[in-house]
Amino acid sequence: MTIRIAVITAAVGTALAALSGQAFAQAQGIEVRLSGQVNRAIMHADDGEDSDHFFVDNDISSTRFRLSATAPIMSGLTAGAVWENEFQSNASNEVSMFVRDVSPRFLERHADIFLQGGWGKVSLGQGSGAADGGIEVDLSGTTVAQWSGVDNIGGAFEFNADGLPTGVSVSDTINNQDFESRYDRLRYDSPNLGGFGIAVSTGTKASVDVHEIGLTYSGDLGGLGRLAGALGFSKNNTSDTLGDDIETTGGSISWLHGSGFNVTLAHSQRDFGSLGDKGKFTYAKLGYKFGRHAVSLDWGKGEDIAIDGVDGDMVGVGYVWAPAAWADIYAAIKRHGAEAGGTDADNITFMMVGTRIKF
């Protein structure tokens, strides 16, 4: 009996080792990762006529989950897929004095497959365009509280003038015009060349052909700290439907000194051709990082962004405390102003306290 047990053990062990060796050869290097975050905040808004509070999902870095997988196909060639979706209840850029609760929606961010090798990376599917994020490079450590996407917080709030709503929202007066964001596209990324990278993409967004090119840089300057920047160009082929193409040009740069002092600048221009005036956005941020804390002041200006002759500006203060690598606790205060034809609207003031937890 004992012999039989020993024999069975040996036979099973040997067989399993042989089978698993074969399976290992097939599955070696495959990695599947599930990650995500929840980002919730309490926001208070005062538009000069009314004030109220809102429970929001911070659209600067929304609640989302991500499933990704990579596997080597052969030596020097890796295949992968990314599937990322956001699920926001009361997105901070959608609530307003008229709409305090917005039903949550399940929205795609990435549904992307890619091949990567020493020659670079080719991606196909829903994902970032080549220039996406080119106006948002920021090393301040306060981005979850404030960044160049100034309308991510309170973008849907309308300005009042003479006690009446103007129909002009914060997003109409100022936004960073960060190219074409995410869409269905074919994209190529070069390998990193001394900190530089170049990307091109072509695809369709809202039934319109879109083409983009982006240049990025990120380097460690030793005693001078760290520097990152991006430049981009996008072309929206709207000439068939609207009579002219829409082109966006812009970039951003951020410098973080070893002392913690940091500066961030961003600028973009959207050329509507014969469709309207050129929309211009300018942004600046001064910050300081110390330990697990970061604080910053920012300022932004928008000209003819969505409506010719309507301009906007904003100024704000942001603070982020990262008590753990997976947690950010933040607070921000900012004020938006708008002006049209020499007439100022009432300012809108926002205050927000929230937390982002990566799980």
Partner: protein
């Protein structure tokens, strides 16, 4: 256009002696550990590593038994059986 000039200048300066580092887009999910996922920062499944680990535990268990049982009556019985099986293989009809 000022931003472009500044970027070009800074990049040129940086290119002189800077070491390239990865930049993680600010609005994306943070890099690093997660609340539930620990240092990996994600629930990670590596099929190519899970199976050999389970299989090797059986093989290792057999090896451990061989080492620990060596010299015992049970082990001698096992060796007798292996010798008989070898004799039978060589003297097959």
């Amino acid at each position: 256009m000022k931003a472009f000039g500044l970027l070009a200048l800074a990049a040129a300066l940086g290119g002189c002696g800077a070491a390239p580092v990865d930049y993680h887009p600010a609005g994306e999910i943070k890099q690093g550990p997660g609340l539930f996922t620990g240092s990996d920062g994600a629930f990670v499944l590596r099929p190519g590593q899970a199976k050999p680990a389970a299989a090797s535990s059986d093989a290792e268990e057999f090896e451990r038994w061989k080492r620990s049982a060596e010299g015992s009556a049970e082990y001698r019985e096992f060796q007798d059986w292996r010798e008989w099986r070898e004799w039978k293989r060589q003297n097959a009809k």
